[in-house]
């Protein structure tokens, strides 16, 4: 359960960030975060993960809000999959990258290894274990990054543009993998078909503000609302967005 209220982030150099965003996501719910370029999606996710300093407002996972004292525990509950997987893969082998988090949690080598094997199995990437993350394809990197985050067993997953750079097959594999995950998810994306297929609900962000919060079918079909937010409505969606 993720609860956000009045979250405001400003960049020190005057960049807009996000202003007064409030919403909540229940356990296991998948919510799409849509908005044009520069709407503030990435900023919101980074702030929720505790990477960016928040100017006002609060965010809480399962009742635990982000504070200096609890930040380690808070970060453990939230998993952020970065827009660019290159930024989150930094160990010599995929396996080490996946074990990085569990090791930091203080797990023994054997437990960390078990956890990594489990996660790789879930995502079907066991064959990548001994490869160097630098030398994977875009889709493989995406999966490895997701695995690295899942190995922390977070209760809320934040995903930033997970389908960017993926070919149709890799995209389908990712959707299948995400749909199977039990966590609550907040997924920033430009891919409305993907959002509609995976999430029942969407948050519409524009100029750093939350413009609408409702079902995907309703929001994505609303021509004038989408237009105002710099997006294009998906024609004839009656809750049926094809993948």
């Amino acid at each position: 359960m993720l609860t956000v209220s009045g979250l405001t982030v400003e960049y020190p150099d005057g960049g807009r960030g996000v202003a007064g965003v409030s919403f909540s996501i229940t356990d296991g719910e998948s919510v799409a975060l849509v908005g044009g370029n520069g709407a503030g999606k990435t900023t919101l996710l980074l702030a929720l993960a505790g990477v960016l300093a928040v100017k006002a407002g609060t965010a809480a996972v399962n009742g635990l809000s982000y504070s200096h004292k609890d930040r380690a525990e808070y970060r453990r509950l939230i998993g952020l999959v970065f827009q660019n997987p290159d930024d989150m893969l930094f160990m010599p082998r995929v396996l080490d990258d996946i074990m990085f988090g569990p090791r930091n949690l203080g797990m023994t080598e054997r437990d960390a290894r078990c956890r990594a094997d489990e996660v790789m199995d879930e995502l079907g990437i066991s064959h990548l274990a001994y490869r160097s993350p630098m030398k994977l394809s875009g889709g493989e990197k995406r999966m490895a990054g997701l695995a690295a985050v899942l190995a922390m067993r977070p209760s809320v997953l934040l995903l930033d543009e997970p389908t960017a750079f993926l070919d149709p097959r890799a995209r389908r594999a990712l959707i299948r993998a995400l749909a199977r995950l039990p966590q609550s998810k907040l997924i920033a994306t430009h891919d409305l078909a993907f959002a509609g297929g995976l999430c029942g609900r969407a948050l519409l962000l524009s100029d750093g503000r939350l413009r609408a919060d409702g079902s995907c079918a309703e929001l994505f079909g609303d021509g004038s609302l989408m237009d105002e937010c710099g997006l294009e409505a998906v024609p004839h969606t009656n809750g049926e967005v094809s993948l």
Binding site: I78, G79, D86, M88, P92, D96, G101, R103, S132, G138
Partner: protein
């Protein structure tokens, strides 16, 4: 992802090598670290003007390359990076010390020349020990081991972040260089002087930005000052033998000036 990164296919990276399997890979990481440190200390303990007496230490890099599928070209490339620093450190001696020690044929060899060569050899030897250690031991294992023996956390963390930053810097440099080359007209054109400034500036900004994100990703996955401590790993008899062999032979070569003995032997013979 980013298509501008040309993977370096010619030589595997040190990182890739460190994941391999060879006799040296299998030695206990702590033992390897002690050996590398011992060799560095021994090499640095030679007097300022010694040169020939250090030559036997070349044995270690040669043997390590010989038995571990470490391509010599990789070490040479990295050593070339260190060379300018070594030259810079040594070159002042040429001016400051002009006393002639001996003559090689017609060429007078001054104390400065010997010291300069000595400094270069010493630097290259020490860098090659460190490179070999890194080529046969995964970096995370090295730092985990450092934590296990209670080296101050802040020091280990600086080492880890520097290492990652060097990685991202190299990565960004490759991407930038390819992007530049693709738009520079001819393929093999170097960077034009007029562009060099903004290119280098851009490179540092980009990699600093990226390093920021990598750092965030690390923290999000629980990385903090404490880091990961290596679990105790038993030191086997083979490890002890390795330790004794490396440190013992190193100490011997430090105490006994083998090249001088040879020279004396040859002199007596002729």
């Amino acid at each position: 992802m980013r298509s501008l990164k040309t993977p370096s296919i010619e030589t595997p990276s040190i990182e890739t090598l460190s994941m391999g399997d060879s006799p040296l890979h299998r030695v206990h990481p702590g033992v390897k670290m002690v050996c590398a440190l011992a060799l560095i200390v021994l090499t640095l303990s030679f007097s300022r003007t010694s040169f020939a007496a250090m030559l036997p230490f070349l044995l270690y890099p040669s043997v390590a390359i010989g038995i571990n599928d470490i391509p010599a070209s990789l070490l040479v490339k990295r050593l070339l990076v260190a060379l300018p620093f070594a030259v810079f450190a040594g070159i002042t001696n040429l001016v400051s010390d002009r006393e002639v020690l001996f003559r090689l044929g017609a060429v007078p060899v001054t104390g400065g020349m010997s010291a300069c060569a000595g400094i270069m050899l010493r630097t290259l030897l020490c860098v090659s020990y460190a490179l070999i250690l890194m080529a046969v031991t995964p970096f995370p294992e090295i730092t985990a081991r450092m934590r296990a023996i209670h080296i101050p956390a802040i020091f280990v963390q600086v080492l880890e972040t520097t290492y990652r930053y060097t990685g991202t810097l190299a990565d960004e440099a490759r991407a930038l260089a390819t992007a530049y080359r693709l738009r520079a007209g001819s393929d093999d054109a170097g960077v034009r002087l007029a562009h060099a400034g903004s290119l280098v500036g851009g490179l540092f900004l980009r990699s600093a930005d990226r390093a920021d994100r990598v750092w965030a990703a690390m923290r999000l996955r629980g990385y903090d000052l404490r880091g990961v401590r290596a679990e105790p790993k038993p030191i086997s008899l083979r490890d002890w033998i390795f330790l004794a062999a490396v440190c013992g032979s190193g100490a011997l070569m430090r105490i006994v000036d083998i090249p001088a003995l040879f020279a004396a032997g040859i002199a007596r013979f002729s």
